[in-house]
Symmetry: C2
Subunit: 78 residues, 2 copies
């Protein structure tokens, strides 16, 4: 997996974790609210894997944020 | 595939097509700018399949928009 992709997944994961903590939700609670397992959530928060568009929407719903907020980051695309 | 996921993929695809047209870019030009094939781009624009987080970033880069702009939609998550 390209280094840049990994860097961006880690950035996304840290932001996801920050939002979850801000909301005072555990991984179990987020997993219970959507069809993302606790194990997958943990790996995604650690930037350890790619994930789908529909998983991103499911996480946004579980965290009660707009999907675009999960991408409100500088992914250094240039 | 769940009906809601399909509806959201179609919504995303229409927005992607709108942005590409606004930028005056062909599918070939977008495909040439990133590692998303013309065929995949066409299917995604038609809401015909799920796609990954890194593909979303690649499309944002190719279209020269921030990734969050591709999700600036009402996905009716509730």
């Amino acid at each position: 997996m390209k280094k840049l992709d990994s860097k961006r997944q880690i950035l996304f994961g840290k932001n996801l974790l920050r939002i979850r903590n801000e909301k005072g939700l555990s991984q179990d609670e987020v997993a219970a609210r959507c069809r993302v397992t606790k194990g997958s959530l943990s790996v995604i928060e650690n930037g350890g894997r790619n994930f789908s568009f529909t998983t991103l929407l499911a996480l946004a719903k579980a965290l009660e944020v707009q999907p675009k907020e999960l991408l409100d980051l500088d992914f250094d695309l240039n």
